[in-house]
Symmetry: C2
Subunit: 344 residues, 2 copies
């Protein structure tokens, strides 16, 4: 790929910025007016034609202005990061602190509320994903007898996540036995990740198969069932925010979006992949190589308590997104949430 000279870069960024602020294809004349480079529309036209040839811009139709491609957005975002954080907005921070500080509940509702905060601040979709089974470590498990043959299991994790689940055993078990089972499970599995535990259980169970009704095999069954459903919860909110955007003026786009939201699967997969790296990450449109996300971008960041990742939060919006603001919000929210959780 050819390298861009300084002037082309400036024009490209101007086009992207202008389009982000105002959802109409931007023309050469408009650029000269708004960004006084000291060049005439004709020159800008030439530059824009080059940029189009290189794949940074496109025209919706012959006689319209230009619109950034995903590649164009990518260039813009990268150059944003390069000149680090110019953007700052004290009001947003204040609002953020106010909203998040008020929440002191379990991690799940905390993450849920964080997404609404993100969406309110950004006017895009707020998302959050609690830790995946390979990242989450068991702290303690408690078992309670509950009606006839049912057992309530409660999982405490190092990440501050608490999960409960009702399990139906085939036969009745006394609370005393449950206590023994629980202490066995705690001694065996405390400190291990869910994935590790699952693996161990599979191994143990094949060994244990012979003495089928032993307490251990019951313990294994309980533990397996408890963990089986856990896959990390996805929180999304703010649909009504994005519906006001001109990008979703089209019914078809709204349908796509709501399908993507309801499916969750795709988004979880993406977030999961993104959670491997640290810091704020931006994924633009087709970069995700998911068809459902073709017209959507994500700005995400992992939250950590000390060194432990306790979830990933972010924003989903149209590719024509205010990346600067989104990055600012996500970055600060992630930092703030991390701090809150560490202190919590």
């Amino acid at each position: 790929m050819q390298v861009l000279d300084e002037r082309s870069k400036k024009v490209l960024c101007a086009v992207v910025q202008s389009y982000i602020n105002f959802p109409d294809p931007v023309g050469s004349r408009f650029v000269t007016k708004r960004y006084p480079f000291g060049l005439s529309p004709a020159t800008i036209r030439n530059i824009m034609a080059d940029l189009e040839e290189m794949g940074f811009l496109t025209q919706p139709h012959t006689s319209a202005g230009r619109v950034p491609t995903d590649m164009g957005y990518r260039f813009y975002v990268d150059s944003l990061v390069a000149e680090s954080e110019h953007y700052s907005n004290f009001e947003i921070l204040q609002e953020l602190y106010k909203r998040i500080e008020a929440l002191k509940s379990d991690i799940d509702t905390f993450l849920g509320e964080t997404t609404t905060t993100l969406s309110k601040l950004s006017h895009y979709l707020g998302v959050a994903l609690s830790p995946r089974p390979n990242m989450i470590t068991l702290k303690r498990i408690e078992l309670f007898k509950y009606k006839a043959d049912k057992v309530v299991t409660i999982l405490f994790t190092d990440e501050g996540l608490i999960k409960n689940k009702v399990i139906s055993l085939g036969s009745e078990v006394s609370q005393k036995d449950l206590n023994r089972i629980a202490s066995y499970l705690n001694s065996e599995f405390s400190g291990h990740t869910f994935d590790e535990i699952r693996l161990r259980i599979v191994k143990e169970m094949s060994k244990e198969k012979i003495r089928c009704e032993s307490l251990i095999s019951k313990a294994m069954r309980i533990c397996r069932e408890t963990l089986s459903f856990y896959h990390g919860d996805l929180f999304i909110s703010g649909l009504s925010e994005v519906l006001d955007l001109p990008d979703f003026a089209d019914l078809k786009k709204i349908r796509e979006l709501s399908k993507a939201i309801e499916d969750k699967h795709t988004i979880i997969k993406l977030l999961d992949k993104l959670s491997e790296r640290d810091g704020v990450q931006v994924l633009i449109g087709s970069e995700s190589s998911m068809d459902e996300m073709k017209k959507l971008s994500m700005v995400v960041s992992t939250c950590r308590e000390d060194d432990r990742p306790i979830g990933i939060i972010g924003i989903i919006g149209p590719t024509r997104m205010n990346y600067e603001k989104a990055i600012y919000i996500v970055n600060n929210t992630a930092k703030f949430v991390s701090k809150m959780l560490t202190g919590m």
Copy 2:
């Protein structure tokens, strides 16, 4: 209000039914074709004019067919109930059983999944509301020390709802003290509804104010905080289903709907009101006297375990809803869920 003769009733129901099946204003000619009453279009026209005068039908414009008003739908629904359950659809039931039977978790996820089942079956919005604080009775409370000055409280209720919450105390408390607090709370509050407990706490605390740091006052604070957040959870799903309906072809309507969904408050209030009565209930459009619901109808039913209401489930759709099918689905789902929970 005038009383309808048999013929008018039939015509009215024909119009409503036809409009439900096919979202175009229905004309006199169409009625004669589809519903062979042995009457000519002209006669039907006269009848329809009468029905319009009485408020059962309207015309979108002079030369269009007629469309039911909320009153028209109401008449139709009432006459449906009168001739009891004609409708039956074995496939739906099978699908229902298959979907719901697979779920054996805690009530919350159970209700959540039930809403998606409802929406998938009906192609409308599925909703569910867990019991309100005045209906839910505490079975047991457990307290665990969790990191520094934090306490995890776990509520067991008779309804099968298990809730947990992290509470930050100002000062550190030993697990031993927590155990004492828990057993105190259990002996005091077990068997009472959340609302009753809240009331009791307020009273006790004003009494207790003098001995501020006593264990009892700590217990009260913990219990109050635990209960304070509980207001019954609302589950909604199936937005992408309703977006395919012609009733929501308009962007403005979608916005309204998504605002209503996100607000939750309105819907909770409505469901709450509806949960007082038993059996399937239908609320049509403006009958709710909520502006947000002007164009929406609800079909709901309470679920009970034995005698105890354990939530309310239902369907939200456009006023032009297939009430017969919706009633059928809601009714059977409620019954089935109740049975599942009782057996669970």
